[in-house]
Amino acid sequence: MFVTYLFVAVFLCMMGYTCYYAATHQQELINNSYNGRQELFIAQNTRGRIYAAGGQVLAETKTDEDGKETRVYPYENLFAHAVGYASNGRFGIEAESNYYLINSNAKLADKVENDMQGIKYPGDNVFSTLDVGMQEVAYQSLGIYKGAVIVTEPRTGRILVMVSKPDFDPNAIDEIWDDLIADKESSVLLNRATQGLYPPGSTFKIITALEYIRENPDTYSQYSYQCGGRFSHGEDVINCYHGTVHGSVDFKKSFAKSCNSSFANIGMQLDRAKFGETLDSLLFNGKLPVSFAYNPSRLVIDENTSDSDVMQAAIGQGTTQITPLHLNMITCAVANGGVLMKPYLVDCVKNAEGNVIKQFDPSVYRRLMSEEEAAILTDLMEEVVKSGTGTKLSGLSYTAAGKTGSAEYNSVKSDSHAWFTGFAPAEDPEVCVTIIIEGAGSGGDYAVPIAKRIFDEYFGV
């Protein structure tokens, strides 16, 4: 009897496992490039369209009289990285939603009709969250600079803008592919918004400040420091940006003025083990909850981290590397009362007749910080705009909050990447913007004006 039950139990497990595996891994399996079944779908269905949130076509397949298919991207370079391309290994939404695009859930009657006429079935269409108007503003604002812009809604996680430069024309991807691959220097194919790893510079002070508040919840507001333009500890020296002397600063002012010396001082006072835990909880060195290609940010701090490294890390220099996407996610959590929503690019999938096949709703990833911590950080970031390095955003019809950064990436010269990450309106955040401009100079001078143009576009100013 025991043996019978044993085998029946084992079989039930196996059946459960098989059903579960097949149901949960179906898309992943179909998308695998070794899976010949893709070809079956591609031969049977015309690849579906990709739409912007406003209904504009971002990608579609056109079939000429001979049955030859061409993938057309009407906006050319504008959505090169976000929408991606459908050949050469696929990228962007074309890769992420490949399963939906090559499938067809058209009505059976329509399929039969197509069979009669000898044409392929229409693939399902993918509706993205991207906003053409804002994407254009961000794209134009970056100008000839290399860099990236990502704009999201903190309350939902919808990604409205995803720009990466340098870019390319996906219409010509097959012709330019070899050149792009050969060009190792400018990494045109890299989506800098999600894959580009940069030193965060002063934008990292959001995280250092968070850790300081966590460790000193009652006394952080009494913090004060006398800034002489530099902070030295043993042989290590940290300079304020361009050697500015900030004088007597409290916690708020240290943040608003982005005083490196004061933050190096703060960094030295932090419990390194706890700091490391905070970093992990903020998704450093780990996976991000997104379904498109990205690189994990890197920074490890523990008991063994040296003083010198902690000082550098506290001001976002040294070995720290972060993607604009990740910084945007942390900023979103601050804006959304501490709760991070999963960022997403695809809103829904509809069949050719327009019936929804799959709807992607906003979903909570998890709480990254308490509501109180988020409120304190929001207050600090508002001060940056009011009186600190982000004053180019002050005095507008909306109140913005944010943090600038000027990340030095070249130890010899004083070149820096211009950063801005922030949101508006500060009292009830609707939109969150993260910008990096490679080698432009200070964040306050170069990134903040772009943020302003994007906010203006969003609020219709």
Binding site: T18, A22, L29
Partner: protein, 459 residues
């Protein structure tokens, strides 16, 4: 038009097989064969419908009339099997015959889809096996000396495996088969049955410790020869059936514990020293990391299972051909892809239903020898099903054994049919035992009544 038929047929076929499977288990609610008759008739009807719908789709998809003819031949064979068996052995178990025919028909459908020539070849092997197999229950019933051949079984079994090891052709890293007059045999298949007979007769005579040791040594020789031939799947089957039969014969949990521990240690050891075992374990753990070589088969199998969805792609609509050895080792994946996951789950449940019936027959048999044979064959059958389906779905590492009655392979299908017919023979023995017991009971009751009457009269 074609599209309507394929789309609709997917759901209809799934519905029919689901109902059939339901009947498989409803059967167990009835105590005896007479009251099960209704279930059996419904099963036969549903089986016919599944088989017919599948071939209807095949004919529509291919547009070839030879499939129609082939279908007719299959239908005649299966119909004749069911009817003739009932006529020859009125006391036989019809669930086993029904399930056997159902599984065979699934095998015919999927093989016809994969390769018409192989399906034809398989059909003739099945036909010949069934004709021969019809005699088996009679022999099992009447040849009483089968119990006494203990050491003969061991010698024949070990020798057959040994010959393969020495002479056999090397197929894919394992020496498994040899050819006589153009026919390739895979002796490990047939030796499975002989091995069960050996264990059953050895253990039914005595379960004293020295006997267990002697049996273990002989069983160990079988397993080691198989390991040396690098046929690890069969070695595992032999080992498991040995451990479980010793456990059942002695009722001693210590043997089960020892066996499991020994098996576990051997598995770890095999993993350490055999590179081909390591490769398979690696391919099981993360097949996608070695998708180009070791993981290729398993990933293609997963693609097939994942591609079909609950109701399948429809026959001839998928690409099961992309899996190497699909018709033998990975037939389950082909079924799952084209006929759907629900269908393939029903197929597993039909196998489980066979197994439960085997175990039921075993438990109710009085004679120790027959009891152990039914048990051993049941374990071999279900464990083989487990190995092949578990391997194809990444539940366990792949071992390269066939799915009984469905996979392509003459030795495999012949052996399984023989096993099924042996069990039928045992069932008939059990029915007679039961009848005899009933008779005895009746006689005793009558005697008691008589006594009571005389006692009453005396008073």
């Amino acid at each position: 038009m074609e599209l309507y038929i394929t789309e609709l047929s997917k759901y209809i076929i799934t519905l029919f097989i689901a109902l059939y499977t339901l009947e498989c288990f409803l059967v167990f609610r009835h105590p005896d064969e007479e009251s099960r008759a209704g279930c059996y008739i419904r099963q036969n009807l549903l089986m016919f419908l599944v088989h017919f719908s599948c071939f209807l789709v095949i004919c529509f998809e291919t547009g070839k009339p030879e499939y129609l003819l082939f279908y007719a031949l299959q239908q005649i064979l299966l119909f004749a099997t069911i009817v003739l068996f009932r006529m020859i052995y009125p006391k036989g178990n019809r669930l086993i015959v029904n399930n056997m025919c159902m599984l065979l028909s699934i095998g015919f459908v999927i093989l016809s889809r994969l390769s018409f020539e192989k399906a034809i070849k398989q059909f003739f092997i099945v036909a010949a096996s069934i004709i021969a197999g019809m005699l088996i229950p009679y022999f099992i019933h009447h040849l009483k000396f089968l119990k006494t051949l203990t050491w003969v079984y061991a010698a024949v079994g070990a020798a057959a495996l040994g010959i393969v090891l020495i002479l056999g052709a090397t197929t894919y890293g394992s020496k498994l088969s040899y050819s006589i007059a153009g026919l390739t045999f895979q002796p490990s298949e047939f030796v499975k049955i002989i091995f069960v007979f050996f264990l059953a007769s050895a253990l039914s005579e005595s379960t004293a410790f020295p006997r267990i040791v002697l049996t273990s040594v002989l069983a160990g020789i079988h397993v080691l020869v198989l390991v040396a031939s690098r046929d690890l799947g069969s070695a595992l089957i032999f080992f498991i059936v040995y451990v479980l039969m010793v456990f059942i014969a002695t009722g001693n949990w210590l043997y089960l514990l020892l066996g499991s521990a020994g098996g576990g240690a051997a598995a770890v050891f095999a993993c350490r020293i055999f590179s081909h075992v390591q490769v398979r374990v690696q391919a099981w753990r993360d097949p996608f990391s070695c998708i180009d070589d070791a993981g290729y088969q398993i990933t293609q199998s997963l693609f097939a299972i994942g591609g079909g969805g609950w109701f399948g792609m429809g026959l001839f609509r998928g690409t099961p051909d992309s899996i190497p050895f699909v018709e033998a080792d990975f037939i389950f994946s082909a079924v799952a892809e084209e006929l759907g996951i629900v269908f393939s789950m029903c197929m597993i449940l039909i196998c489980v239903s066979c197994f439960i019936m085997f175990m039921d027959i075993s438990m109710k048999l009085q004679d120790r020898f027959y009891q152990l044979i039914a048990f051993g064959l049941g374990v071999i059958y279900i464990f083989q099903v487990f190995l092949t389906i578990g391997g194809g779905t990444k539940f366990i590492p792949m071992t390269g054994v066939t799915l009984p009655l469905i996979s392509y392979g003459g030795s495999s299908v012949l052996t399984t049919l023989v096993m099924f017919f042996i069990i039928e023979g045992l069932y008939i023995i059990r029915q007679e035992e039961g009848a005899r017991r009933d008779k005895k009971k009746k006689r005793r009751r009558r005697a008691e009544a008589k006594e009571r009457r005389t006692a009453a009269e005396e008073e």
